[in-house]
């Protein structure tokens, strides 16, 4: 079997795609790539549609490298990747919903994001009916066809439908449980409820508006999303970011990771009915958000990262606030870790529940604590080594057990690493005033850029094509949840229904980032 470079090197690199090469391949090579994915030789980073084309980003291991392959869709069809490599299935269904390109040979042809309620079909492709001749939204007129859930038949099986509106302050999604008594036999997810059409709104948007849209892909990862988008745009347009801004961006990314990890550790324990941990963790989280407000003018640091640099000042006064915060968190964490570790009744719930098998984590290339809790040692900060992480020292914790407990421990260890990173950034960063080199429309033709950034959940992929007038022609943002939601279905099997919130929270996948 040919390896990745043997398949791709036969095709010329497409000009103006940075920093990794993109090649227009033929159908046979597309199938060969699919085979490599199915064999586990390479991992899938993304699969997305474009006008008349589909693109696939893959990650090769040892050494880590990224490549993009594109295929022209003859008669609106392309050979299905999902048929041989399951992680691609939902991505292909999405391509069909948004662009109308059909994956030939696909095993699952049901719609995914399109619930039959939009004014038109294939909104980013052919648009049927065309814009301008739209009917009112279907929700007003009639009930769309029922979704064809997988049927589970067997003695003593019953179904529990949950959602889209859940019993809590959570995002909407539908879960269809098939249970035998208390035990979950199968979970089927149905997502897409918060599909806002972000990629459609991106098309034609000026950079500033597109950056605001990117920052709102998933509010809890706003810094990471903005960073991924900005890095992709900067790669496309050849913009250098000042070293000071690069450091401050990483500082924000680590603060976001810290806030989310600590908040979620509390929330996971709360789902095991251990509210004490939630109370303490939410206090710490609140302190982090307040420090972020003082340092960056926004509690979640939204819109602080823009293509070209930063939109905020970060000086010595702000740095001091963050230093004090780090000291506070360092003081509080040992006690909380001890509390988690010493409470047997809590461990009883987290240890051994929601086990994600290593093989599945590897096959789906699960990012973040989901992958690293199941033996997949990948972290874009270390393995793609984008600045400033290439000059900072940190560990990437990995555990093998794959249960809720392992995911909690990965987060605890990552809190420690993030604190170390923040300290390194604050000692070594050149003091920075307002840093902003706005990318301008100077290039002669459209340029493309790709970025992979480690958010708290895992690696976020951003791909953009920037038009000569510095507007976005096409932008695709792939949230880490795409490769985490599907494995939750597997990890929950055999657990009791009452443990679903606990397992779900330990994954904490984004609905908004997925549905977009």
């Amino acid at each position: 079997m040919p390896n990745l470079s043997e398949i791709l090197d036969a095709f010329p690199e497409i000009e103006n795609h940075r920093p990794w090469p993109r090649r227009l391949v033929d159908a046979a090579s597309w199938r060969a790539l699919t085979e490599l994915l199915a064999e586990g030789e390479i991992s899938l980073l993304g699969l997305w549609g474009d006008a008349g084309h589909v693109h696939m980003a893959v990650l090769a291991t040892e050494p880590w490298s990224i490549a993009v392959a594109s295929l022209a869709c003859a008669n609106g069809k392309f050979p299905s990747v999902g048929r041989h490599h399951a992680p691609a299935i939902r991505l292909e269904r999405t391509i069909h919903d948004l662009f109308g390109h059909e994956a030939s040979g696909a095993v699952d042809k049901r719609p995914w994001l399109d619930h039959g309620r939009w004014r038109l079909r294939a909104p980013l492709g052919q648009q049927t009916p065309p814009l301008g001749q739209q009917t009112p939204p279907l929700g007003e007129r009639t009930t769309p066809p029922a979704y064809d859930f997988v049927k589970n038949i067997g003695e003593g099986l019953h179904q529990i439908p949950v959602g889209p509106v859940h019993a809590g302050i959570i995002e909407p999604g539908h879960f269809r449980f098939t249970a035998n008594g208390e035990t979950i036999v199968r979970l089927e997810e149905r997502l897409g409820y918060v599909h806002k059409g972000v990629e459609g709104l991106m098309a034609g948007a000026p950079l500033a508006r597109a950056a605001r849209l990117a920052a709102r892909c998933s509010g809890d990862s706003t810094v990471a999303c903005s960073l991924a988008f900005s890095r992709a745009v900067e790669a496309a347009m050849g913009v250098e970011v000042l070293a000071g801004a690069v450091s401050v961006r990483a500082l924000m990314a680590e603060l976001e990771r810290l806030a989310n990890h600590i908040g979620d550790i509390g929330a996971i324990c709360n789902d095991a009915a251990f509210a004490l941990m939630l109370a303490y963790c939410s206090v710490l989280r609140e302190r982090i958000l307040r420090a972020c407000y003082t340092g960056f003018g926004h509690r979640l640091m939204m819109d602080a990262i823009v293509p070209g640099g930063l939109s905020v000042d970060f000086g010595e006064n702000e740095a001091e606030v963050i230093r004090q915060l780090v000291a506070t968190v360092r003081l509080a964490m040992p006690q909380l870790i001890e509390l988690y570790d010493d409470t047997a009744s809590l461990q009883d719930r987290t240890a051994g529940s929601g086990v994600l098998k290593r093989e599945l984590a590897r096959r789906f290339a699960c990012g973040g604590f989901v992958g690293r809790g199941s033996g997949r040692s990948f972290d874009a900060r270390r393995d793609v080594a984008y600045p400033p992480y290439d000059r900072l020292s940190f560990d990437v914790p990995v555990l093998q057990e794959g249960d809720v407990n392992a995911r909690v421990w990965i987060r605890i260890k990552e809190v420690e690493q993030s604190l170390g990173l923040i300290e390194q950034i604050l000692t070594s960063a050149p003091s920075a005033g307002r840093i902003n080199a706005e990318p301008r429309a100077t290039q002669a033709c459209a340029t493309e850029g790709l970025a992979l950034v480690e958010g708290f959940r895992g690696d976020i992929l951003a791909w953009v094509r920037v038009a000569p007038d510095a507007t976005i022609e096409r932008c695709h943002l792939r949230d880490p949840s795409w490769f985490q939601w599907p494995v939750l279905e597997a990890a929950i099997e055999g657990n009791i229904v009452a443990d679903f919130p606990l397992c779900n929270k330990s994954f904490n996948c984004s609905y908004s980032g997925h549905d977009l």
Binding site: G139, V194, G200, R209, R216, D220
Partner: protein, 173 residues
């Protein structure tokens, strides 16, 4: 755990400590909010939060209302699990077409009298998502809205101010 529990006996509560001068306003607001809730809801108000397409930024800040700093329940305001238990729907997001029916059904399931608060910039008119094929464009497109709280996302302070404003509106009725 014993140490933590013992410490919490001696430690002063975290709940917004003695008013620092710059925070006096929000504390005052919270005191007024208590009165408002007492006057119109007999001491308690049950809130059902519905995400109708937000980016989850609003949810993070609504969550923060329950942390020990804001501790919304001390005012008699609490989040409930079912619209059938709710007096008020707190709705976020531009209302995606895929959530339109679910939002309408949630509203219909809430017993009258009921109030609707739309929170966040996109809940007003779709905000940054306005004009998308997938969005209805604001909560009021689907269900009647009593109050809109601005912000992207609204901070916990602003959310509390917004709930207060609703009370005042109710008083004039």
């Amino acid at each position: 755990m014993r140490d933590i529990l013992l410490q919490s006996i001696w430690r002063t509560p975290l709940t917004e400590p003695r008013p620092p001068a710059d925070d006096a306003e929000s504390l005052e607001l919270r005191a007024q909010l208590k009165q408002g809730v007492d006057a119109f809801f007999d001491g308690s108000l049950s809130i059902r939060q519905v995400d109708a397409g937000s980016c989850n930024g609003c949810e993070l800040e609504i969550h923060a209302l329950n942390n020990p700093f804001y501790d919304l329940e001390r005012f008699g305001l609490k989040f409930v699990a079912s619209p059938r238990h709710a007096d008020l729907l707190l709705v976020t997001g531009p209302v995606t077409e895929n959530m339109r029916e679910a939002l309408k059904r949630t509203y219909d399931a809430t017993p009258s009298p009921k109030w609707v608060v739309a929170a966040g910039a996109c809940a007003l008119d779709g905000g940054i998502y306005a004009g998308s094929y997938a969005c209805a464009g604001g909560v009021s497109e689907v269900i009647p809205v009593d109050l809109h709280i601005p912000g992207c996302p609204p901070s916990p302070d602003l959310l509390i101010k917004g709930l207060l404003a609703l009370m005042m509106k109710g008083r004039r009725r």
